[in-house]
């Protein structure tokens, strides 16, 4: 693909840069909290934040649910992850190119229960998505599964 940016006038480039900057918060996120029940928090860079519906997620975030908690998230590649009570789920690595569907997604369920529907990353490349537990590694060829850890 040739680069259209090179052929744009400076004013258009400024406009484009502004558009990109405005779109950035949504683009830099790896996913979003879509459902939440009971106590759910997100550990981010050593801080514990309360998880709210609509909250944007970042790579390396760890979701923790309480005894009455549950949380559902939609990733940018359309993967759906949802965890039940007493769960710890780390979004260790997430890279996704929306134009090519190429990427890498590694998550770890340290404890609890997790339901997964894989998205565009796993569909594009069956080696590109893994879900780990403390004792196992799941290679996700697609699409819908549940896993528990630490029982």
């Amino acid at each position: 693909m040739n680069d259209p940016i090179c052929r744009l006038r400076p004013t258009r480039i400024a406009g484009l840069a502004l558009a990109v900057a405005l779109a950035l918060p949504a683009v830099a996120d790896i996913g979003q909290v879509k459902t939440r029940k009971g106590q759910v928090s997100v550990e981010r860079k050593g801080q514990l934040l309360p998880a709210e519906v609509g909250m944007a997620l970042e790579a390396s975030d760890t979701l923790k649910t309480g005894p009455d908690g549950a949380v559902g998230i939609t990733m940018r590649d359309n993967s759906l992850l949802s965890a039940g009570p007493n769960s710890i789920l780390s979004l260790e690595r997430f890279e996704f190119d929306a134009a090519t569907s190429q990427g890498r997604f590694d998550a770890q369920l340290q404890r609890g229960t997790l339901a997964v529907v894989s998205g565009r990353i796993a569909k594009q490349s069956p080696q590109a998505m893994t879900v780990r537990t403390p004792s196992a590694q799941l290679g996700v060829r697609g699409t819908d599964f549940v896993v528990s850890a630490g029982e």
Binding site: T35, L80, A136, V147, E151
Partner: protein, 199 residues
Amino acid sequence: MNRRWHAIASLLLAALLAACASKPQGTVVLLPDSDGRDTALQVRQAGGELLLDKPYAAAQLTDRGPVAASSSAEQVQARFGAALAARPLPPQQFTLYFVEGKDEFTDESKRAFDSVFGEIARRPVPDVLVIGHTDKVGTDVFNDALSRQRAEVVRRALLARGIAPDNIVVVGRGKREPVVPTADGVAEARNRRVEILVR
């Protein structure tokens, strides 16, 4: 007498060891794909590997490696009901089509727009990605602007229906990503479109 106690003790020891050896570390169950696509899961542990490739095929995770098992909808519901109930609505994709060279919906797409709006409205925190495209008639500059205008038409229509601006991201891709590949300069109705991803 002594011998009998030995026998009992060694049986107990064996049972204990067996219990330790198969100490459960978790469960994995492959579920049926909601759209009937092929599904599979490779389960890897230090002690071995197992491929799950049928709905409700399951693996018990143990310190000796995965042990093949089978599960059922009822068992999955009992153990994973809370996690499944928290699952977000699946993302939906829509395509709306445009009149040649213009940012006007075709008549059919005017009607289809209602279902897009309905899908957005039933989500507590929708995020909507609107991607405009053109066919290959005209220059890159013209088509970049037109694709963006088409996406903007969708955005304005959604705003008019009360969708929050923060939830909508608009992109114009010009003529670079046709669904129907054509030579440059060819008018193709199926390429004059806006794709709308509702999550």
